[in-house]
Amino acid sequence: MTTSPHQGRNRSSPKVVNHEPGGEVSRRAMLSGAAATTAVAAVGASDIPAYARPADPSSSQDMMAFLVLSSALTGFEIVRLAPEFDKKNKPDILDADPGVDPFNIKKDYFNWIDARAAPTFDKLLQIARDHRQSLPDIVPAVNASDDTKFLARSIVLLWYLGSWYEPDDLKKNATPGARALIPSQVVSPKAYTLGLVWQIAQAHPMGYSNLQFGYWSREPVDPNDKSSPLGFITDKLP
């Protein structure tokens, strides 16, 4: 079949070396000294949290913080990221129920990010907690410092593409207008099939269609449906 004339260039190796972001305190070091540092960060105007406690994948509050963060970064409403999400009429979004759905990709992603970039991830979750009344405030806070900015970009790409791009690689290539092949690693077949960019394109992942014969001959937009085809894109909290 068709090979692009240039295709040989992009010899991206499938294996990306896992490493903690350089210069960060390792998670283990932090936990071993944890007894002395249990001060809780104040929710305040400061964009960079004074202290970010370690993320706990089994905590529904931490998962909600992750979902709030992800919603702000991806522009997707939380129920698209977590189909069984239930606000439960709680005033504080952190007390909502993230739910468990058959794919549960949020858990895979939470664990994946936590294993690779825990300290900065903890900071991002704290930013989400600090600004959980208003999604649009999260992004400027994230952009205020390089470590959170680039990890946030990795997280967006993770949700959108199901692939992991190391924050350091993104940073290396972030000079404006840069053109580069950035190495990546597909997290899992499941993650690939749940990439959000395909919904944004009003299509489906290449290799994973649940649609039915002939659909490509028809518009994706139903004239009967008056709501926007991209109704899942929002900057509002549920």
Binding site: M1, T2, T3, S4, P5, H6, Q7, G8, R9, N10, R11, S12, S13, P14, A72, L73, T74, G75, L135, V139, A152, R153, V156, L157, L161, S163, L170, A174, P176, G177, R179, A180, L181, I182, Q185, V186, S188, P189, Y192, T193, V197, W198, I200, A201, Q202, A203, H204, M206, G207, Y208, S209, F213, Y215, W216, S217, E219, P220, I233, T234, D235
Partner: protein, 643 residues
């Protein structure tokens, strides 16, 4: 190899791809005992492994679903193969990365698989050649002594091939509308019907068809069709892709990854026929690399092979098979490799079946020119990434008086946006590249500038709603074209054996010399102009030839002066490997006859697209399948007749 330890059968076949599987099936149905040697792994019980490889591949190239591992030194593989990742400036001539030892001057850019089922990564397009494709010299080159495109043998023409095309179409299961396919004189019997209704066209097809429905003669004069062209029709591509239940397989669900693999086997692949053959008694020996064709007294007497277990080898044993008739169906690079490797202690020092010296020569592809564009923000989106990878094309321009001077082309209309063409594929595939641009403030795609991003600034880095809306707005307006340009046969485009580099079994790797001629390059020039016409009619902005030039260091580039300007053009491979043991009536200038029987050895057949004297512009699979069935009939006849 002790002859009395050999396996015995009536017909031994090397290779289990399209041609090998079809022949094995025809023969087994008649009770003929068949053994098939397959270099790679056998048929898998399910495609879990293939799909997993595909899903987790960071580069979803045509080979990405199939073993062996993509990033391995080919010298360390028992059954290596070229891949799309070995074609860049930095690696096409590095034997540690490229399986083929490419001598140049330009790269040969097509690839193949070595697994049971052969090149199952095909798209599914099942076009017949047009009548003049079989008669290039007679029709267009009578007055040119050095016209490089010969006629096919007298017995092979559009009309004689029609019943074989029909039989091949039944086995593959082709969806098409016969009235739509009667163009440029293609012969169909009066009440012919394809097996299934045509695949519905995509939204892009419909839009492009509308845009090309009314053209002026001035706009189309460059095509030199010999008659005024005021409309260019888009036609559905006949495809071995179910539009209904067929042979107990599901209909297409538009998974948009036909290449490399259809997740629901709605697209035909040769394991289907291979399984039918083995159900009828054919024996498939996998992990068996044929290493020598033994010739005694002018006839093939056995084929030796090497066994291995792991991808990296080493060899675990040897074997041989003795038969009455032998068929080599190992594709147009591996077949000449095997023929040339078979030296018979010096008795066939130039290789088996090679009295013409044509084995390995006349290597052809359909050099592929890709072009991609973006519709303006005011246009209705075309919604890529939906449906089969390609549903329609332009075939009407592939024949005409211009063929006396320049190559013809056929146009593919891609339904997958900029997936493999974005930025000339230098920076990865889409939608990743476009997405990363708008996340990381980069501009690999060329889109992240004010002119195209409508954001009032270059190199925007976005999050959230802004990002989602921008990507939706942008991706839904991307589309691409592909032009398959006919390549003429040239003696010095050839496959030989590397004297230096071997695979893990110690066999010499194929060495390739390759270039594209002026005839073909002028076909590219016409394609370049056609691209402009199409994009202009659709109001789209071309990104193919936009600075910075993606072609600037491509090893496949060449320059042409077009309308007074120097333009850099590049080609890729269509995966159509042809010509290296061509058919002809004259044994001095051809390797096989019209039945694909070797001129030199009566009991040896060489099948597949390697026998094509010219390539036309149609994908070769249907034609090679039809020829394989004709060959099967010939073999049955051989075995029936006494002696």
């Amino acid at each position: 190899m002790a002859a009395n330890n050999c396996m015995q059968c009536d017909v031994a076949i090397v290779g289990s791809g399209f041609a090998g599987a079809l022949i094995a099936n025809e023969l087994s149905a008649k009770g003929i005992k068949v053994i098939i040697l397959e270099a790679g792994p056998g048929v898998q019980p399910n495609i879990n492994d293939y799909m997993k490889r595909f899903y987790t591949a960071s580069a979803k190239v045509p080979e990405s679903a199939y073993p062996p591992e993509l990033f391995t030194d080919p010298g360390k593989l028992a059954a290596g193969r070229p891949t799309s990742l070995m074609l860049g400036a930095a690696n096409w001539q590095d034997p540690k990365q490229s399986y083929l030892i490419q001598k140049g001057p330009r790269p040969f850019t097509s690839t193949y698989e070595r697994v049971a089922g052969g090149t199952a990564h095909w798209l599914g397009t099942s076009l017949r050649l047009v009548p003049n494709d079989f008669r290039m010299k007679t029709t267009y080159g009578k007055d040119q002594s050095n016209f490089s495109l010969p006629d096919w043998p007298a017995a092979i023409n559009s009309e004689n091939m029609s019943p074989f095309y029909a039989r091949a179409e039944v086995e593959l299961g082709v969806s098409a509308d016969v009235d739509e396919q009667r163009f440029l004189g293609i012969v169909f019997p009066k009440d012919y019907a394809y097996q299934m209704p045509r695949i519905p066209p995509s939204l892009l097809d419909q839009r492009m068809g509308d845009a090309l429905a009314e053209l002026t003669e001035a706009e189309t004069r460059f095509l030199e069709m010999g008659k005024p062209v005021t409309e260019v029709k888009l036609r559905s591509l006949p495809a071995a892709r179910n539009s209904q239940p067929y042979q107990k397989r599901r209909a297409c669900a538009g998974n948009t990854n036909c290449i490399p693999i259809c997740p629901i086997q709605a697209k035909y692949d040769p394991t289907i026929t291979l399984n039918e053959a083995t159900d009828k008694g054919a024996i498939l020996i996998d992990h068996a690399v044929a290493s020598e064709i033994v010739v005694e007294a002018g006839r093939v007497s056995q084929i030796n092979f090497i066994n291995y277990k792991d991808e990296a080898g080493p060899k675990t044993g040897e074997g041989c098979v003795k038969a009455k008739t032998y068929v080599i169906a190992a594709n147009a690079i591996e077949t000449p490799r095997l023929l040339l490797m078979s030296k018979n202690q010096g008795h066939t020092s130039n290789g088996v079946a090679n009295s013409s010296d044509m084995v390995g020569r006349n290597l052809m592809d359909h050099p592929y020119y890709v072009a991609w564009a973006l519709l303006p923000p005011t246009a209705t989106p075309v919604f890529p990434y939906r449906g089969p990878l390609i549903t329609s094309g332009i075939g009407d321009l592939c024949d005409g008086p211009f063929r006396a001077k320049r190559a013809a082309f056929r146009v593919d209309i891609g339904n997958e946006g900029w997936n493999f063409v974005v930025a000339g594929a230098q920076f990865g595939a889409d939608p990743n590249v476009t997405t990363i641009d708008f996340v990381n403030g980069m501009n690999s795609s060329g889109l992240n500038v004010q002119q195209f991003n409508q954001l009032g600034k270059d190199n925007a880095a976005l999050f959230g709603v802004d990002l989602a809306r921008k990507l939706n707005d942008t991706i839904t307006r991307q589309f691409r074209l592909g032009f398959l340009v006919e390549q003429d046969p040239e003696r010095n485009n050839r496959v030989t054996l590397s004297s230096e580099f071997k695979d893990a079994l110690g066999l010499p790797r194929p060495e390739i010399s390759y270039n594209i001629s002026d005839y073909t390059r002028q076909g590219f020039v016409a394609a370049y102009r056609m691209r402009k016409l199409i994009f202009d009619k659709m109001g789209a902005a071309d990104f193919t030839h936009r600075a910075p030039d993606p072609a600037s260091d491509s090893p496949g580039r060449f320059e042409e002066i077009i309308d007074g300007r120097s333009v850099t053009l590049t080609y890729g491979g269509a995966g159509h490997i042809m010509g290296t043991y061509r058919m002809g009536d004259d044994p001095k200038t051809s390797v096989v006859d019209s039945f694909q029987r070797s001129h030199d050895h009566q009991n040896l057949y060489l099948v597949g697209s390697g026998t094509f004297p010219t390539g036309g512009t149609a994908n070769p699979t249907l034609t090679l399948s039809a020829l394989a069935l004709r060959t099967a009939d010939s073999i049955v006849g051989d075995l029936k007749s006494p002696g």
